[in-house]
Amino acid sequence: MRVLLVEDNKHLSRALRQGLEEEGFAVDAAEDGDEADHKARATNYDAIVLDIMLPKKDGLTLLKNWRGAGMKTHVLVLTARGTLEDKIKGLDTGADDYLTKPFELEELLARLRALVRRGHHIKDPLLRVHDLTIDTAARTVKRAGKAIHLTPKEYALLEFLAFHAGKVVTRSMIWEHLWDEHDESVSNVVDVYIRYLRNKIDKDFSPPLILTRWGEGYMLRGEDDAEDGKS
């Protein structure tokens, strides 16, 4: 999942970025209002973590502009201003969630995951596709009762496919949501990761769940999908 981290404190930004990336998020960082505005409008992020006191353009102004422009991305406001007034103001401006500094990293991650699920209109943290179970809260995957260990990237890819289960996701979609702006990996990195994932999920089980739609992209098998199209 790709998030935009808008925070002007370099230390905090760096630490958060590392924490998020280690959780499998693709993180773009912005240090001031203008940069954040530019990036948010250019990329379809799964969520935005937004500090309010920012140089050049403060967070609330940004948020108001974005909502005014019809941007639907979920925004988690992160601020040092902890009064109720500030929270109400933030939420009323269009924030989806609110966290006061200092915060627990776990809480921030949990809230971000919830925001991402909400972005895909999913409420149950357990995703089930046939005998595959993805616990989006614990970030664990089981198939036929057997735990499968995935790297963060592999997990993120599987989760992304699961969010769109039964629907085709294109390579560019995958690229856009799972790799950040600094990633300069080769263009077939998505295919490489699909292969890794198949090795772990489909190799020892049947039926195969990750389907290839030639010329379009990949798809996680939906409940009613036929077994055709298997690569």
Binding site: N9, K10, L12, L16, Q18, T79, F103, L105
Partner: protein, 604 residues
């Protein structure tokens, strides 16, 4: 708790009670004294009237006696006696008034009082006393004829009422006179003396009465008791050639006759024991007691009237005062209600000061102003607290997040070391921030002290420059120091260094690449010094020239949120310059740069 209403009412009441008390006492005293005067006058009048009555009664008695005496006077006998007296005088010149051995008597019959008078010219005057004076113990009568005969009532016993005939000789009117006489037995009696001239006599048969003209005692105002008689008896004035015959001559050639006078003295005991006076005295006493009673009643009425007036006045004052004070307090109540509506969210006074009376209006206006100032201060404090919390929370969040991320999974030693370095940097910033906050808190608390000592400004500026120059050069700035000669000023070196350092840091921080920073010092007025820090940086619009010295204010939103420039530096500079007694001015043009000027006095 003090109540205005109660205090005012009590004060007004006290004043009223004192005033009314004094007025009442004065009025009471004056009235009582005038009532007493009136009473005394009335009593005197009653006394007077009683005495007059008594005297009149006494005189009546005397007059009756006088009339009787006059009526019973017989000319012939008297004439005879006169002749004899003349003879006696001749023979015994020393005794013209002494009793003469005459046998001629005045025979009297009953008079108007029913008494009889016997006048024995020769030896005595007699009154049929028993018929007339029953209370003879208290009443005394003495008649004296001019020629010496006298009669006195039995009540007199051996004593004699002294008679001073000379009074009548002097007094041509022969008015009766009253006086008090003390009897030998010690009793004081009231006496009237009436002179009864003989103006008529019992005409002897065949003798014409015309001789009255020749009376020597021809008073034009004879005793009133005998006036009528005397006037009738007096012959008309006639010229000598009247046809009337002259009065017959006295026998023995005596032509001039002096008619005798009687002196009637009536007296009575005026003590209340006198039964004749008892009724009058009772009447008098009754009148007196009535007067006294009336006076007492008047005084009582006066007292009651004054009392009720005071009570009424106090009552009315209480009632009206209560209402008036209440009315006067209405604006205060409104103000108080309005004040009670003020909350931390809304500092406005929900009241139009113009609707209040002139006395309360200034209070409300002052209150509004104070509230506005309070609100501004409150907002500033709130913002400062929020800013402070923000400035501390952000590095804290960075610290915790850094640590949490590091702890999420096993790392290499190198990574841990990196994390620790990061943490140390964050902690360093936080510590700097806290230090600045503390400096301001100390200044606010007044515990910060200025320790002046001689400072060589050139050395101080040089020290700052030594630290700042490398920083400026890293950013590609030209750093200039301009201190002409030695300038020594007495001030607090630590604070001054902090001020110059802060301003220099700002000048470097907010400069543009290739810009310039200049530190200069010059001697100021009265041994002071003028320091200037000039940069060619971004500058500031004029409207924020004052605000930059407020805490947490950031003139440049593009500043890096490193925590060092949390907007406290200039606040500290301002406070320090104030504490050193100096003046801080700023001159800045957007895009061209700023110049901070410090004028420091020479501290004594």
């Amino acid at each position: 708790m003090k109540s205005i209403r109660r205090t005012l009412l009590i004060t007004v009441l006290c004043v009223l009670v004192i005033t009314l008390g004094v007025v009442s006492v004065v009025v009471y005293r004056l009235s009582v004294s005038s009532l007493r005067d009136k009473e005394r006058a009335a009593r005197d009048l009653v006394d007077q009237r009683y005495n007059d009555l008594q005297d009149e009664e006494l005189r009546n008695r005397a007059d009756i006696l006088a009339r009787d005496v006059q009526q019973n006077f017989q000319w012939e006998k008297w004439a005879l006696r006169w002749q004899l007296a003349g003879f006696a005088a001749f023979s015994s010149p020393t005794m013209p008034l002494s009793p003469a051995p005459l046998l001629i008597t005045v025979e009297t019959s009953g008079g108007s009082l029913g008494n009889g008078l016997n006048a024995r010219f020769a030896t005595e005057l007699t009154l049929a006393e028993d018929e007339t004076y029953h209370n003879s113990d208290y009443e005394f009568v003495q008649m004296t004829a001019e020629w010496g005969a006298s009669w006195k009532s039995r009540s007199l016993g051996n004593s004699v009422l002294p008679l001073d005939q000379s009074r009548f000789r002097r007094d041509v009117d022969s008015k009766p006179f009253w006086d008090f006489v003390t009897l030998p037995d010690g009793r004081t009696v009231r006496r009237v003396v009436v002179k009864a001239p003989v103006t008529r006599y019992a005409r002897p048969t065949g003798t014409p009465p015309w001789f009255g003209r020749s009376r020597k005692d021809d008073s034009p105002h004879p005793s009133r008791a005998i006036t009528g008689v005397a006037t009738a008896a007096r012959p008309p004035e006639r010229p000598p050639d009247s046809r009337r015959p002259a009065p017959p001559p006295f026998p023995w050639g005596i032509n001039e006759v002096v008619l005798p006078n009687f002196y009637i003295q009536c007296a009575w005991d005026v003590s209340p024991n006198n039964p004749m006076l008892r009724d009058k005295i009772a009447e008098r006493d009754q009148q007196l007691s009535a007067i006294e009673e009336e006076t007492e009643r008047s005084i009582h009425n006066l007292r009651a009237t004054l009392g009720w007036t005071v009570v009424g006045a106090i009552g009315i004052t209480l009632l009206v005062g209560w209402l008036l004070v209440g009315l006067g307090l209405v604006p205060l109540k409104r103000l108080s209600y309005a004040v009670s509506q003020i909350s931390a969210k809304d500092f406005r006074l929900p009241l139009d000061p113009k609707s209040l009376p002139a006395e309360v209006n200034p209070v409300a206006e002052r209150l509004s102003q104070t509230l506005a100032q309070l609100q501004a201060a409150f907002e500033r404090e709130k913002r400062a607290a929020a800013d402070m919390s923000h400035e501390l929370r952000t590095p804290l969040a960075a610290l915790t997040t850094t640590i949490e991320v590091a702890c999420r999974k096993p790392r290499l030693a190198e990574q841990y070391k990196q994390t620790l370095e990061e943490c140390r940097a964050i902690a360093g910033q936080m510590s700097l921030l806290v230090e600045r906050m503390l400096v301001l808190a100390w200044i606010d608390a007044g515990v910060d002290q200025v320790r002046p000592e001689p400072v060589e400004v050139g050395d101080l500026v040089g020290g700052v420059a030594a630290i700042a120059r490398p920083l400026a050069e890293v950013q590609g700035l030209t750093f200039k120091v301009n201190v002409p000669g030695r300038i020594t000023v007495r001030t607090d070196p630590d604070k001054l260094r902090e001020v110059v350092m802060n301003l220099t840091h700002n000048a470097i921080e907010y400069n543009r690449p290739g810009g310039e920073v200049e530190l200069s010092a010059a001697a100021g007025a009265q041994g002071g010094v003028v320091l200037e820090v000039r940069d060619t940086g971004v500058g500031m619009p004029e409207e924020i020239h004052e605000k930059i010295f407020e805490r947490f204010f950031r003139g440049d939103p593009s500043r890096q949120a490193t925590g060092v420039h949390a907007g406290l530096g200039l606040a500290i500079v301002k406070e320090y310059v104030d504490r050193l007694g100096g003046r801080l001015t700023v001159d800045s043009v957007v895009g061209k740069g700023s110049r901070f000027r410090i004028e420091l006095p020479n501290a004594m």
